[in-house]
Amino acid sequence: MSAKRKTTVAVLFGGRSVEHDVSVVTGKQVMRAFDPERYEVVPVYINRDGRWFTGEPLLDLKTFQNEVASLKGIKETILSPATHHHGFIISPVSGLFSKSEVQRVDVVFPALHGSHGEDGTIQGLCELADIAYVGCGVLASAAANDKIMTKTILQQHNIPVVKGVSVSRSEWEDDPDTVIQRITKALPYPVFVKPATLGSSIGVGRANDEAILRASLDVATNFDRSVLVEQAVTDGVEINCALLGNGEKIRASVLEQPMSFEQFLTYEEKYLRGGEGMKSAERIIPAPLSDELTAKIKDIAVRGFKAIGGRGTARIDFLVKPEQGEVYLNEINTMPGSVAFYLWQHEGMSFSDMVDELVELAREAHAEKRRNMYNYQTNLIEVAAMRGLKGIKGAKSPRPVQS
């Protein structure tokens, strides 16, 4: 028997999200990046309906359609929130041929994009289970997932953002005229209309006049209960920057400039252009910006990441007007497509090194949380039992216990 034991990593991909397919690509890339000498990868596929599956065949499955459930070697699974399972329950409902068993994991890698994956929900489940997980925590994930909340937080930290107005679905349905008035008073055309919490570009519209604005709001309110109307930055370029690290030790990657910003990116353009996800999309790395502006963007990226309490990794998207030197933080993706590994490759870091570091950062963050005390023994229950449940307030006599 050897002294070294492998680290078991569950890679979650798919998901009940419009970005299901992108996540499948990211998930497969991530699973391939782990060094099999040191890691044991447990693939966990979440289908579009939110059913969870695991099993060896997922590692090299080509298509992820409805047939997954019926494949040989694929079993249903759930991530247990109970701390002593510390992982997945395979075949949670046991039957004649499927005995329930526990699959312990060391780390969860949620390679999930958008809703029910990048928004703090999976993160919350991992917190309950007391399992280390890659990427941002519950609050940062949830905040970054909501464009309105992100903007509010960033403004508080004096980080430059594009001006915007938030509109709730009910407000829009009840009194559209007042809403239009409010928007036009605050923002000149053209504007972007975005559902607050959706990733990618789904439901997003660009409006040059009131008619299109109304139509865009109609569309956007179908996707979310609040909508952000943002001033469009004309003559701007999109610049992305990835981050790695926890706490005070966060470093920014080289900057990239995705191409074809003139016309708004449609969903197909953004993700489905050929082959392997983001990698082959046209982009310029490093972005052709002055050293000064590059440094400024990297600095804002790090500050923005800290402002939302981020950890692990993220890709931060900016709108930049190079001539004027204007920079606006546009969006924080806490689980970017392909985990933005292509940016780190430019820094001389392989994808394999990167997942190593992500796992290490996850464990570090988890260790940090382990330092918190969750057990605080009181005699409250005994006192309550003695007195009846009334008058418990004056009865505290706590004594701390290490957990």
Partner: protein, 542 residues
């Protein structure tokens, strides 16, 4: 009158059964080893030949025979009364290790009662075969009864022998289950052994590792093969969140650690101290060392051995060169170069220990502060640090974790009573090194009288006499008052005390711990300090 005779025998039999039940506790304390139990039983006459049943038999027989009336039931009534008197259990001294009704104990008792029933039937048959003279039969019944009573402890031994194959089967199944659980769990197993300090080191290491990982220390002093199997089957089987299993490995017989290693496959082995404890069972410290070395031999070649370099026996283990990765720690700042972790600037005060730990391979240094007392804890913490750093924790993290340590249960726990008296409790199998440390801590209290309460040390084999004398000499230095519990076993302590010039009027010898408690409650006041050193299991007191 056969019926009345049987009644007498039954009365004795019930008393004997009560005796068996009471004795089972000591059998348990001696870990179901018949030889050890018998050695204890015959160690003192009162244990195997108590006065009361003898007296009851004598008086009962005499009275019974004196009644002249023919066919009178009186002798039998007297006989029953005598049996009941004999069977009333003697007053127990403080029960420190209560009888636990484990499945095994129940099986043993059942077997013992089967033996008892056979004996009773035999007795009846024998009496039935005797000449039909009332007196002869009566005396025979009484004698058989007292014999049943006196030999009751032997039923346990017989029962134990009868149960041997059954127990072996149970054991095998239990061990196989534990092995399976561990295989499934895929934990890093850390083995810790030593003549003393292993329980403390285990709990400190668990505390440190738990600030980053999830470690499960074997509970209490479950340090035998079966104890560890119990821990594995009960706790590890149901908890998948664990990353480390810290197994305390005791060696009561040579080969025990080897069998534990074969079960648990530790990849990290820690040897804390080798010294004169349990010498009665091993003969010499060299034999103890040999038994402890099994933990290192049980490691895989790419495993990690962690050694207390300050102990000559353990240093010798370190120098043998197995396994490849060996980490030595030392309390001496100028230990030779290959010692990996050292402590310097050790300051011990009543607030705890402060010392600087140096990782000589990286040159890093951290100041450790801990509420623990006793210099031996510096060694224990260095050993725990070596493991934690090997498991990728930083020295800084370890230093931070160490601040929140609590003394291991009932090891040098200090508290102040409502009356302002400081109580130091070192109530666990004291050993020469630990005892000296505890006395030094007692000596640090300068506000009032310093009382030592101790029954002396046991299980030191031929060193018992000299080590206890040394204890007395050290006590004379640090204590202002001494209460010795139990005159016989504390003689050497007393000799040591008086030899070192301790005033005889400050020294008293009492029979029970309760008396000592009464005395200190009546005579000590705020600012005074009491050290309870070594709370003995009942085996040695009764």
């Amino acid at each position: 009158m056969n019926f009345l005779l049987i009644l007498v025998i039954i009365a004795w039999l019930i008393g004997a059964c009560v005796r068996v039940y009471r004795q089972a506790r000591f059998y348990q304390i001696e870990e179901y080893m018949s030889a050890r139990y018998l050695r204890w039983l015959f160690g003192e006459r009162q244990r195997w030949l108590p006065n009361r049943p003898l007296a009851a038999w004598f008086v009962g027989t005499a009275l019974g025979l004196l009644s002249e009336a023919p066919n009178s039931p009186l002798p039998y009534i007297i006989g029953v009364i005598a049996a009941v008197v004999a069977g009333i259990p003697p007053r127990e001294k403080e029960v420190k290790k209560a009888f636990k009704r484990t499945a095994r104990a129940t099986r043993l008792l059942a077997a013992a009662f089967v033996v008892a029933a056979l004996m009773a039937i035999t007795g009846n048959a024998v009496i039935g075969a005797l000449p039909d003279v009332e007196e002869v039969r009566f005396v025979a019944a009484m004698t058989w009864g007292v014999a049943l009573f006196l030999f009751a402890p032997l039923w346990l031994v017989l029962g134990n022998v009868l149960m041997t194959p059954v127990e072996a089967a149970f054991r095998a199944r239990f061990i196989a289950k534990a092995r399976h659980v561990l295989e499934e769990a895929n934990l890093t197993v850390i083995g810790i052994t030593g003549s003393y300090g292993k329980t403390s080191t285990k709990s400190y290491l668990a505390h440190i590792l738990n600030t980053r990982y999830k470690a499960y220390p074997s509970p209490k002093s479950y340090n035998t093969l079966m104890g560890l199997c119990l821990a594995i089957n009960n706790d590890i089987a149901n908890d998948h969140s664990l990353e480390y299993f810290i197994a305390e490995m005791g060696a009561y017989i040579p080969g025990e650690i080897k069998s534990i290693s074969e079960l648990t496959h530790p990849t990290i082995g820690v040897v804390v101290e080798v010294g004169p404890q349990h010498l009665e069972r091993f003969g010499s410290p060299e034999n103890v060392a040999l038994a402890k070395y099994e933990i290192i031999k049980g490691l895989p070649p790419d495993g990690v051995g962690v050694f207390n370099w300050d102990n000559t026996y353990i240093r010798e283990m370190y120098e043998r060169g197995y396994p490849q990765t060996r980490i030595a720690v030392s309390r001496e700042a100028n230990a030779p170069g290959d010692v990996h972790f050292t402590a310097s600037n050790v300051v011990e005060s009543l607030d705890g220990l402060t010392f600087t730990v140096t990782d000589r391979q990286t040159g890093q240094q951290e100041e450790f502060r801990t509420p623990l007392l006793g210099l031996h804890n510096v060694t224990n913490l260095l050993l725990a640090t070596a493991v934690a750093v090997h498991e990728r924790m930083t020295l800084k993290e370890v230093a931070r974790a160490v601040r929140t340590l609590q003394p291991a249960e009932s090891r040098l726990v200090r508290r102040v009573t409502a009356e302002g008296i400081t109580i130091i409790n070192d109530a666990y199998s004291a050993n020469p090194v630990g005892a000296e440390q505890s006395l030094r801590v007692l000596g640090m209290h300068r506000t009032g009288r310093r009382l030592l309460v101790t029954p002396g040390m046991v299980e030191l084999g031929e060193l018992m006499e000299s080590e206890n004398r040394k204890l007395g000499e050290t006590a004379a230095e640090h204590a202002t008052d001494v209460i010795l519990v139990g005159a016989k076993q504390t003689e050497a302590v007393k000799t040591g005390l008086l030899a070192a010039g301790f005033e005889a009027e400050k020294l008293q010898v009492v029979d029970t711990l309760a008396e000592a408690m009464q005395w200190y409650q009546a005579n000590l006041k705020a600012g005074d300090t009491v050290l309870f050193l070594n709370d003995l299991p009942d085996v040695y007191l009764s």
